[in-house]
């Protein structure tokens, strides 16, 4: 078999059902092999789109996403998408073409040192120098991407390796002496015992859940734990929906734009149970003032995430799902019903005093939050939303009620504008029956707008909703609040998005009045076409509360009044 055929055979054996990619000189052998294969390949319009699609597919399904690109510019166009996946621990394999082995280092046409460029943004990467190593390398790449703390792995294959002949040998097992993720699956017994005792003895606990719990497919266990102990639970934007937000134990999202009552609870609790989150700076605010009186339990599969920014009293290295199961057994064995009633009273007081709110004035400009409230009311959590980055991303966290895991897909760590639309396409391929919505802003949408062509090409019924405030809204908000209203290059004039959509072969509409929102959303949600709805919103609207940069999490600004 030729190297390229070996690659395609390996992808099949790994159970890959769809690839996102773009052909070019250095991966032509691969595309030639794909021509004879029944593997589904989606032709994107820009390689960045391919990486985000693979990422969106992976987050929606939990499986490894795969993207392909040629050497040089093809590979460098993947870089933002790989970094996005790396920051959010998304399992992905990126396969790039490389110039011929003997030309490497020669500044050949379309040559870039892709392994060098992607070293800090991949979990691991490979340059395949011998066709006999190819099958084993692909096998290892999928194994590394999907196990432990998941992440992107890149495999760079020179043209001559793709063309070389070799016998196909499928390695039955993977043995990497420097990579033993199975060592980090079971949590330490003694630590789990300690954690259980702290939980039943606590008076004011908060459970704080992050993306790791989603990666570990621990929804059921997490819900059981919360219902068992009756503790308040808050999530980062990476874990929205893991506990239903319409249930009383839910404190919804915490952090820079979390509800005030939630941040107060985190700040004043006596026990903080971190489940698969990483004490990100958007959650902790000024780190040395963060939740000063609490004992901290941290469950994480990655030892390096524990104690990185916040000191922890009970570290538990392990897979969230397994650890939660053990933890519940321990708690039950203690036969001590914790009593958090006084704590709940305190939290309810904060919730009453500082509700998450906004006002949609009658006959006034359209408020972006209103669009999300109506969407939430119409769909009741039965959607899969991808977003871009900025105000709309945070309003979606605040004003949509999330009730299921893997339904809110966003670039949380890297904060990549342009992520939403390609991620929606990847998610739709992964979950064809799902109602997929891409929520975006007028700034973000144009960063990968070309992928509308891909969506229309494949008749994907994706609905893009633009919260258009004719500005880079979050930049404008920071300029207004922290840069003396000096609005430096944050206003932008956008094209007529409805017409642009029509040009791409999608359906387009523009609305600007609150009373248009419900009928328009009802209309597109019941339609099978690909839609772009441009919602012209109030540019003055801001995301509140906000923890100002460098401040403690109880020093939120609640509104401008």
């Amino acid at each position: 078999m030729k190297g390229a055929q070996i690659l395609v055979e390996c992808l099949k054996r790994e159970g890959v059902d769809v690839l996102f990619g773009y052909p070019g000189g250095a991966n032509l052998p691969t595309y030639d092999a794909l021509h004879d294969s029944d593997l589904k390949h989606i032709l994107v319009r820009h390689e960045q789109g391919a990486a985000h699609m693979a990422d969106g597919y992976a987050r929606a399904t939990g499986k490894v996403g795969v993207c392909l690109a040629t050497s040089g510019p093809g590979a460098t166009n993947l870089v933002t998408g790989i970094a996005t996946a790396f920051m959010d621990s998304v399992p992905m394999v990126a396969i790039t073409g490389q110039v011929r082995s003997y030309l490497i280092g020669n500044d050949a046409f379309q040559e870039a040192d892709v392994c060098g460029i992607t070293r800090p943004i991949t979990k691991h990467n490979y340059l395949v120098k011998d066709v006999r190593d190819l099958a084993r390398t692909i096998r290892e790449a999928f194994y590394i991407a999907a196990t432990g703390k998941p992440g992107p792995v890149l495999v760079d294959i020179p043209v001559d390796v793709s063309q070389a002949e070799a016998e196909f040998v499928w390695p039955e097992s993977v043995e990497i002496r420097g990579y033993k993720p199975e060592r980090f699956i079971e949590g330490h017994r003694g630590q789990i015992d300690k954690a259980a005792k702290l939980i039943v003895q606590a008076k004011k606990p908060v459970v704080y859940v992050g993306g790791g719990a989603i990666m570990s497919n621990a929804t059921e266990e997490l819900r059981e734990l919360i219902n068992l102990i009756g503790a308040p639970v808050t999530t980062t934007c990476m874990a929205l929906g893991i506990y239903p937000e319409d249930q009383p134990f839910s404190l919804r999202m915490l952090g820079m734009h979390g509800a005030a009552s939630t941040n107060f609870a985190v700040q004043y609790c006596d026990l903080l149970v971190n489940v698969g989150a990483r004490f990100d700076d958007r959650v902790t605010g000024k780190v040395d003032t963060f939740s000063p009186k609490s004992k901290k339990i941290h469950i994480d599969i990655d030892p390096a995430s524990i104690g990185k920014s916040v000191p922890v009293d009970v570290p538990i290295v392990g897979d969230v799902k397994r650890v939660l199961k053990e933890l519940m057994k321990e708690i039950q064995a203690l036969k001590q019903k914790p009593d958090y009633s006084g704590w709940w009273e305190e939290i309810h007081g904060w919730q009453k005093k500082h509700p998450l709110t906004y006002t949609q004035p009658k006959g006034g400009k359209l408020k972006p939050q209103y669009v999300l409230e109506v969407l939430s009311d119409l769909t009741k959590g039965e959607i899969l939303m991808t977003t871009d980055v900025g105000q709309h991303q945070m309003w979606a966290c605040q004003f949509y009620r999330w009730t299921k895991p893997r339904t809110y897909i966003t670039s949380g760590g890297l904060g990549t504008m342009g992520y939403g639309l390609p991620a929606a396409i990847g998610a739709q391929f992964g979950r064809p029956g799902e109602r997929v919505i891409c929520l975006t802003g007028d700034g973000s949408f144009v960063m990968n707008i070309q992928e509308l062509a891909t969506a229309v090409d494949h008749k994907l019924p994706i609905k893009t909703i633009i919260l258009n405030n004719a500005n880079l809204g979050m930049v404008r908000q920071w300029q207004e609040m922290f840069y003396k209203k000096r609005f430096s290059y944050s206003a932008m004039r956008s094209p007529d998005f409805a017409k642009v959509a029509e040009g791409f072969g999608a359906k387009g509409a523009t609305i600007s009045q609150p009373e248009e929102v419900r009928p328009m959303l009802e209309k597109i949600l019941s339609d099978k076409e690909c839609w772009v709805v441009d919602c012209l919103c109030d540019e003055e609207e801001k995301v509140f509360p906000i923890i100002p940069p460098g401040k403690a999490i109880d020093e939120m600004i609640l509104d401008m009044a």
Binding site: R119, L127, A304
Partner: protein
């Protein structure tokens, strides 16, 4: 702040040194020295990395190194009985008058005169940090022209 000696066993493959260097630079860690060479197993290399930092920083360095797929094991030798040595070549200005003095210094420290010229002599010393420091202090008044050091290499001692 204290110096920690990390002994890191890695795959002997191209690009591994770059991975380690890139991780250390990218995460903002400070290192004093890094020495690398093949081991008794030709598929593995041992790196001795001297890190300057508090316990929390060194803990992070160790954990981050352990995350690399090509890293087989990380040992913090500072916490156990170990041997460590460094090789230094030190070129010093010499005159007919000072030559015997410098040869005497070398002899006292069990160093060698590796090269002797009209204007310079080069002293080669293998020793621990105290010995290296002593050599540098003793030759300083004569005028040091050039120095090259390997960085420390270390091994755990049998107990």
């Amino acid at each position: 702040m204290a110096k920690h000696i990390l002994s890191v066993l890695v795959e002997n493959k191209f690009g591994v040194l770059a991975r380690i260097a890139s991780l250390i630079a990218g995460r903002g860690f400070n290192i004093d020295s890094l020495a690398v060479g093949e081991t008794e197993d030709p598929t593995a290399s041992r790196m001795t990395i001297v890190v300057d930092g508090d316990d929390k920083t060194v803990e992070q360095v160790k954990k981050q190194l352990n995350r690399l797929v090509d890293v087989i094991s990380v040992q913090d030798l500072t916490r156990q009985d170990h041997l460590d040595r460094e090789l230094i070549l030190c070129k010093v200005a010499v005159t007919p008058k000072t030559r015997p003095e410098l040869v005497e210094i070398a002899k006292t420290l069990e160093a060698q005169v590796a090269d002797a010229g009209v204007k310079n002599i080069t002293i080669l010393l293998v020793g621990d940090q105290a010995k290296v420091k002593t050599l540098l202090e003793l030759v300083k008044p004569y005028g040091v022209k050039e120095i090259v050091r390997t960085g420390r290499v270390a091994l755990a001692r049998d107990v």
